[in-house]
Amino acid sequence: MNAPVTPTLLYLDNVTVSFDGFRALNALSLAIDHAEMRAIIGPNGAGKTTMMDVITGKTRPNEGTALFEGSYDLTSLDEADIAQLGIGRKFQTPTVFDMHSVEDNILLALKDDRRPFPTLFSRRTRLERERIDALLERVRLTGHRHRKASELSHGQKQWLEIGMLLAQEPKLLLVDEPAAGMTDQETADTADLLRDIAKTRAVVVVEHDMTFVRDLGVKVTCLHEGSVLAEGSLDAVSADERVIEVYLGR
């Protein structure tokens, strides 16, 4: 395909989504660079998850532009196309394939031909086995590889889902509340893992946990009522009057 015409990997401009007249996103604009990590904060209902829905093709915006690599119009592609372009997503509530083993969860996510017939005849290659081993090691689930995903703890499921995301080899990872329901140690480890991932890929993280966001040490965008309220370093954003008012709170 064409070389990117803009330096930005993800470009949202003037995106509006309304549900029966209620504007979940209101003229939202946002740009994410190649291999940039961005933290998104904002009160409940600010539109953070809806933004990810728009980027991944789950929700069609009523208005606005959403471009990936400057040339792909995300508003006209479906979920499978967008995933194959290289956008991976972790859901707010961990979503893994409960009845499959941990290993098979990763296998299903591995970048590969996604069409039914090639999938039917697909045999696990040595390369794939090594990829699976490496990914399991990275999300610390090697010892659990043969267990059913349903048996994992909440935190382990979150990590498995991050492992599945990595298996897709996406250019952009959208990670919705990865630290929710984790212990302090797990939260810190997750921040480490994401920082490491962001060395080679763009990562957008939605999180309410301020310690976690501080750990990430990246540019922060605060959403409120469907638009950007403030953007900048965490210190600058958290000093913003309006952010304190609507989010960080009294």
Binding site: A80, T95, M99, P116
Partner: protein
């Protein structure tokens, strides 16, 4: 390939092979009157059960593994049956009541002068067999293409599959459709030149049913143990997650639904020569629901359970309709409620659990994976 042949699969194949040998032997070799003799009328009855088992298998493939609760598989079964029935009608030739060499009796009766175009080719067995696969497959493909693309799922999908089979039933009841109206197709004389009523033909049909069931079972096993099979289960358990991994879910559903409809068509084609008739009643919505009950009773998502359920429920049905005909539907309903409430894994799942527990008890302290198993 090694995963295909797990312990269950070996048991299924061994039992089917045993049936394919014992039933003919007991029917043809054992002297009538001996305790081992299987009477002539039981052979097609058992063959019919095997055809039903193949139908149940096809439903388990889509429902048990991909979460598509089809309540319309009876239609695919009936269409396969009609394709076979049309071949058998053409074999009657001039031996019908009206002795018309080209037109089946019902067409003569309706005063038709020539064979409708869609009957062409059905006198040739290979063509008819192709239609057994293609007609149900094509219907499933077109139906699925619209339904899955519009992301119709769950109970809505089940309802439209019921509507589909109901609509077909009404259509096939009409005389001007050209399929014999409410009488359907019957009075068959022979198949591939062999008299259809002969004991030897019935034995061959039984063996063919066993072979088809074994083949269908292996095909399904191969699919569910492949990576595609894992994708199907992923779709069943977390459809949108699967989409966000980049799988085009509707294509997977369409592929498996179409294949499953073809299996159901084969089952119908085996059923018709053994019962000697196919009529629009086979499209009745209740028939499709019954198939789902067989699968649930045997154990959904296990393949072998679908076969077991079809055999057990149909044997029960034969006994009940002989002994207490008016109670059969209550018994079936009761069985379904009992199984869903108390045996969610069906007969097979529950029996296997008991078996494992019974084996483990005497050797307390032995790790479960140290137990010998025929798997792999």
């Amino acid at each position: 390939m090694s995963q295909v042949f797990d312990r269950r699969t070996i048991v299924v194949l061994v039992l089917l092979a045993a049936a394919a040998i014992l039933v003919p032997a007991m029917n043809m070799l054992a002297a009538p009157g001996s305790a081992f003799h299987l009477s002539d009328h039981l052979v097609p009855l058992l063959g019919k059960y095997l055809a039903f088992a193949l139908l149940a298998l096809s439903v388990d493939l889509v429902w048990g593994y991909c979460g598509i609760l089809s309540l319309g598989h009876g239609a695919f079964f009936a269409l396969g049956g009609y394709a076979m029935g049309m071949y058998l009608m053409r074999q009657i030739g001039a031996r019908g009541v009206y002795a018309n060499p080209t037109l089946p009796d019902f067409m003569v009766f309706l005063n038709w002068k020539e064979l409708p175009w869609f009957w062409y080719g059905f006198d040739w067995f290979p063509f008819a067999m192709l239609m057994v696969l293609l007609v149900p497959g094509l219907l499933a493909f077109v139906f699925g293409w619209f339904a899955f693309r519009s992301r119709v799922t769950g109970v809505y999908l089940s309802i439209i599959t019921q509507a589909m089979t109901f609509a077909l039933m009404l259509a096939f009841f009409r005389n001007d459709m050209g399929f014999g109206g409410n009488n359907g197709l019957t009075d068959f004389k022979d198949i591939l030149g062999f008299p259809i009523q002969a004991a030897s033909t019935r034995v061959v049909l039984f063996v063919a049913s066993a072979v088809a069931l074994a083949g269908g079972y292996l095909l399904c096993r191969w699919i569910v143990t492949s990576k595609l099979g894992k994708v199907l289960v992923a779709v069943r358990d977390a459809e949108s997650r699967t989409r966000f991994l980049g799988y085009r879910v509707e294509h997977y559903k369409l592929a498996v639904f179409t294949l499953s409809a073809m299996l159901a068509g084969v089952a119908g084609a085996l059923y018709v020569p053994q019962v000697g008739i196919i009529n629009p009643g086979e499209f009745a919505p209740a028939n499709s629901i019954e198939v789902v009950i067989w699968v649930a009773v045997g154990g959904r998502g296990t393949l072998a359970g679908a076969i077991l359920g079809a055999l057990v429920v149909n044997a029960g049905k034969t006994w009940f309709t002989g002994a207490l005909p008016e109670l059969w539907l209550f018994a079936l309903g009761g069985l379904f409620v009992f199984v869903t409430l108390l045996m969610p894994k069906g007969i097979l799942g529950t029996a296997e659990e008991w078996w494992e527990r019974a084996r483990r008890k005497p050797k307390a302290g032995v790790a479960p994976d140290a137990l010998p198993s025929a798997a792999e």
